[in-house]
Amino acid sequence: MATPQDLSVFVRHAPGGVAGMELAVDGIRCAGCMHAIEDGLAREAGLLSARVNLALKRVTVEWREGALRPEAVVERLAALGFKAYPFLPADQEGREAREEARLLRCLGVAGFAAMNIMLLSVSVWAGNASDIEPSTRDLFHWLSALIALPTAAYAGRPFFESALRALRAGSVNMDVPITLGVVLALAMSVVETWQHSRHAYFDGAVMLLFFLLVGRYLDQLMRRRTRDLAGNLAALKAETATRLAPDGTAVALPIAAIVPGDLVLVAPGERVSVDGIVEGGRSELDQSLVTGETAPATVGRGERVYAGTLNLSGALRVRVEAAGSGTLLDDIDRLMSQAVENRSRYVKLSDRAARLYAPLVHATALATFLGWLALGLGWQQALLIAVTVLIITCPCALGLAIPAVQVVAASALFRQRVMLKHGDALEVREYPGQGLTSRCGGSERRLGSVDFCQAQEQADVAIRAHPDASLIAYRNGDRRIAIAIGQRLRPQARETVAALQEAGFAVMILSGDRPQAVAPVAAALGITEARAGLLPGGKLELLDGLARKGRKVLMVGDGLNDAPALAASHVSISPVSASHLAQSAADIVFLGDSLAPVAQAVAIGRKARRLMIQNLWLAVLYNAIAVPVAIAGLVTPLIAAAAMSGSSLVVTLNALRARSTGGGSAP
């Protein structure tokens, strides 16, 4: 593009004359790259600091205001051999990071309190077994209360708030029994201490908060990480739009810098990157991605255009209505919620567990209370037993069961250069279904199918010369060209297909290409079922048909026309080089050209799913043992503590096994 690049929008200006910028860097793989970048940038005069975040593959640079242009940083990194893409961290990222920091603080406070209360509790338990003086025991209990009450008030807030929100909305979530259990346990312990009793449950309540916060924190970590990586992906796409200044000059700006009210120029052949109203020019738009309508629509002044449509014939000047800080992220959210709606039969594992769990726990506790009352126990005694039931059933292990596996599996995947767009993608992958591979071929750029460009004549000529090639046609007015393109298979396509077939997948090719071009590819890959000449709608129909047969479909695709099918399939994978929309529709994105990560992702995903189920069963097993003991009124604080920490540890250790998959690079 001839229009000059302007990166100044990415620069943030801190007080004290310091300017800074965040860059997503392609190709940071190891500590060596980290050192190369930091040392290389340190030699740049005017730069105050450069720091690589290895986990997120980002670089933060700071320089004295005016000492250098932001473009120089990108050039310098390019000279070092790294392609860098500046970006603005989205607001959403800031919010997620703050939430994560808050949970970590709560976790720290709860950990501190749990340790110190345990110190006191162990002394009491040892004393109860021998000859502790009641006055000393009371002192220890009061000290525990002194630590536990403020801790619960601070570290318990994430749960209390969420429980309140749920109750206000008239529903019940996992946090309701948690809140009830913690509050009741603390209140009861204060009463017990007041009455110089032998037992108090301060340690149990605080330890419960600690373990639950670990699970909650891991969950949040996962969410933020995928969100950050999605931000990186958006930056790596480096999408630009051409903004027209009031004086008519055109500047190519990153999409993040376009704000509503700007006037942008959309050249013929370009994809529209904003939503807006046409102010000038006439053109035809291919809106198939947005509306599904394949015939080009004519737009003119005053009409509305949407991001994702393709401008075919004339230049348009568009007044921006919505561009967003990153349309990819907006697309992700939109398409993802859309896809999730399509998968309404599928409910998140943890939600499913919670929906079952909360009423069960409440009912059990209530039944215990009433049961003991009926058996003639005093109401205080009966309440105490009911509360121990609530504490012991509190879903520590359940809260850890899924996030722990997600985090471990996601980092294992990340080492294989596979990024999960959301943690739930791991859960979706259930049992062997149908694997659909669309387009294992290499070349993708197409300007239009032969029919679309009405270039049949030229196509016939090209076909005679290259019978098994794919055709691309280009039309500019009356000039029609058909280009024959030999399909080059993606690296390791053959091995990947073989591995998938071995794993029990029935692999199919869905292609919009000519049957003569698809057949050799299918033969080379050892795939017997290949469908050619499919339109996006046709792919969707095929997927629906498979879904009706009860098949679960894993879709791999990178073309624009794959996007609807990707969004609708059970789980979907796209390469990072895929078209914008295909990528936003996919659950999982892998880096690089090779298809090998697909098989690895499937292997790790299956293992993760298995571990999650195992963990849920472990949690159930724990409850099956602990709950009858609690109902019988035999649980002392010591047993409660041992059971809770024991089950949480088992679940966490089991989750760690997810990292040993995928072969090779796991340390």
């Binding site: 690589v52 290895l54 986990a55 603080r105 720290g108 501190f112």
Partner: protein, 56 residues
């Protein structure tokens, strides 16, 4: 009994110090990049003054 009067506050103080250290670490962003930090510790560049113009 007297020994408890010394030991308990001491234990709590130690715990509180640990908590304060943790919160300080968090505030100074030391948990932002756990992967990179494990490699940074191996670097020797803090042995000399970190000035680009050579040895101090």
């Amino acid at each position: 009994m007297n020994i408890i009067a010394i030991l308990l506050p001491l234990a709590l103080l130690l715990g509180a110090t640990g908590l304060a250290a943790f919160l300080w670490c968090m505030r100074s962003g030391q948990f932002a990049d756990l992967e990179g930090a494990s490699w940074r510790v191996l670097r020797d560049d803090d042995m000399v003054e970190p000035r680009p113009d050579g040895q101090p």
